[in-house]
Amino acid sequence: MSSVIQVEDLHHTYLPGTPFEAVSLRGVNMRVDEGEIVAIIGPTGSGKSTMIQHLNALIRPQKGRVIVLGRDVSEESLDLKWLRSRVGMVFQSPEQQLFEQYVGDDIAFGPRNLGLDRSQVRQRVRQAMETVGLDFEGFKDRLTFSLSGGEMRKVAIAGVLALQPQILVFDEPTSGLDPETAREFLARIREWHSRQRLSIILVSHDMEAVALLADRIYVIAEGRSVREGTPREIFSQCDLLRGCGLDIPQIAQVMYGLRNRGWAVRLDVLSVFEAEEELGRRIDFARPLAEQSCEPVQPVR
């Protein structure tokens, strides 16, 4: 499988040579293969946002290499318009970036800038709106400020999708959304992914979402990639993640709690269904309750 993104030993320092100099990246490595969903997790300030801003050359590498779709983003001759239409960025709270009065115009902004003609733009806007679940006729002439937060977010994402990117980068896609809207969004991301063979990068603090969607996870801490693996591999390393200020999904926390009490349960359990299966195997529900509890061990957070 060919990789669409390669990040090699990437370094970045903000305001170098000034009293405000701040090292952000100290050697990040990452690879995303075509059609993969890769999650990046890391505490606030670990350099995740700095790293993803390199993927469409909002920041150029100071040291190290970033190759996107075969092009080195350090190249002077790089066509930025091309790159930015190939790598769609959905930043955190994208609804705050809406600026046009009407929904249709906001979504059309990108395609218009690509120099497409009227009917092509319209076609793209319609398609993008349908993809995110906004009815074209019903919403195109709505005022952007009259929409709910969830609808605004859909509009913002449609604006990115209208560029028809090959790579989509989501920074905290579910933050601020209610559980149902969040679930719906995650299901949609999965759907776009399978339908259009998009490669997706997901930056998130929502460990449940990451466990559900990601093929692979990179853990970034203090500007370095410290671990890479499947959700099962990563989320069975509770101590490592907690050490970096992260956490594991709540279901995995139950398993970890039992393991701390001396139970031989699997730790790489990611869903309620798997947990039920695993516990069904380990626990003798048929026998009466034990009078004495297990040895009290340090409480688990």
């Binding site: 955190q92 933050s175 969040a182 200020g245 956490d247 709540q250 709690g257 031989a264 947990a275 688990v300």
Partner: protein, 282 residues
């Protein structure tokens, strides 16, 4: 105590398409409660929160904060000092270039004497565990630390009630933990806490959970009562924490397993009451 009586709020009542956000809320929040408000996007949570310290005024109905009606302009200052608000994005509420000056901003405007001001700032910084950062510029702090400074700024005004509108939404897991621990400490000291969140496991931290739906109260009870009704919550666009789902499933297998659990700790505790199957001990 906060008393909300038949509260209606409509955005743009004079516009062609007025948007009703709250439609008849009745609510009594006694001192010292830890209330968590959940509800889908657009259910009116933030609108309700903004009524609690008179950032918004009722289109119809009344809001009383310690017997002061929010509509009465003479109480505005007193109400704002009684009910402190913390919002989602900490950067939006930090105003000064040094942490302790930021925390001093609110109490300074209350016209306190220098000594009193000093004491309050010190106390608030200690309460959120940020004393060591007092001379730092806030923009160099982590998001969780910034949010703690924002909370200190509010607490330095010694409000009896703290309202948090998705104050943990932008934070990483450690930052969230920091805020929840800080808030719990204030609660234990007697501060009334009203927290809005989309994170169901955070909702389990409260002593009372209120579910809003389309501008009205749909559910109101202890976390255990509310999260015991999975189907109803799902209808309302919400969910129960994963650990509650697990307990529900295990209860189906073994009725003596409690049907509603809301924390990881109690789930582990309950599981440990059952013997392990033969040959599976560690």
């Amino acid at each position: 105590m906060i008393l909300v009586e038949d509260l209606h709020h409509t955005y743009g009542p004079d516009r062609a398409q007025p948007v009703p956000a709250l439609e008849g809320i009745n609510l009594r929040i006694p001192d010292g409660e830890y209330v968590v408000i959940i509800g889908r996007n657009g259910s009116g949570k933030s609108t309700l929160a903004k009524h609690l310290n008179a950032l918004l005024l009722p289109t119809q109905g009344d809001v009383w904060v310690n017997q002061m009606n929010t509509k009465d302009p003479q109480y505005l200052r007193a109400i704002r000092q009684t009910v402190g608000m913390v919002f989602q994005v900490p950067d939006n509420q930090l105003v000064a270039t040094v942490v302790e000056e930021d925390v001093a901003f609110g109490p300074e405007n209350m016209g306190l004497a220098r000594q009193e001001l000093r004491e309050r700032v010190d106390e608030a910084l200690a309460a959120v565990d940020m004393t060591d950062y007092r001379k730092r510029p806030p923009h160099m702090l982590s998001a969780g630390q910034k949010q703690r400074v924002a909370i200190a700024g509010v607490m330095a005004m010694r409000p009896s009630c703290l309202v948090l509108d998705e104050a943990t939404a932008m934070l990483d897991p450690r930052g969230r933990r920091e805020i929840l621990d800080t808030v719990r400490r204030f609660h234990l000291q007697g501060v009334t806490v009203i927290a809005i969140t989309h994170l169901m496991n955070e909702a389990a931290e409260g002593s009372r959970v209120i579910v809003l739906d389309r501008g009205a109260i749909a559910m109101d009870g202890t976390p255990r009562e509310v999260f015991g009704q999975t189907d109803r919550l799902r209808q309302l666009g919400l969910d129960v924490p994963p650990v509650t789902q697990l307990a529900e499933q295990l209860h189906r297998r073994q009725p003596s397993f409690p049907a509603t659990l809301i924390s990881v700790e109690e789930c582990v505790e309950q599981l440990c009451r059952f013997p392990q199957s033969e040959g599976t001990a560690a």
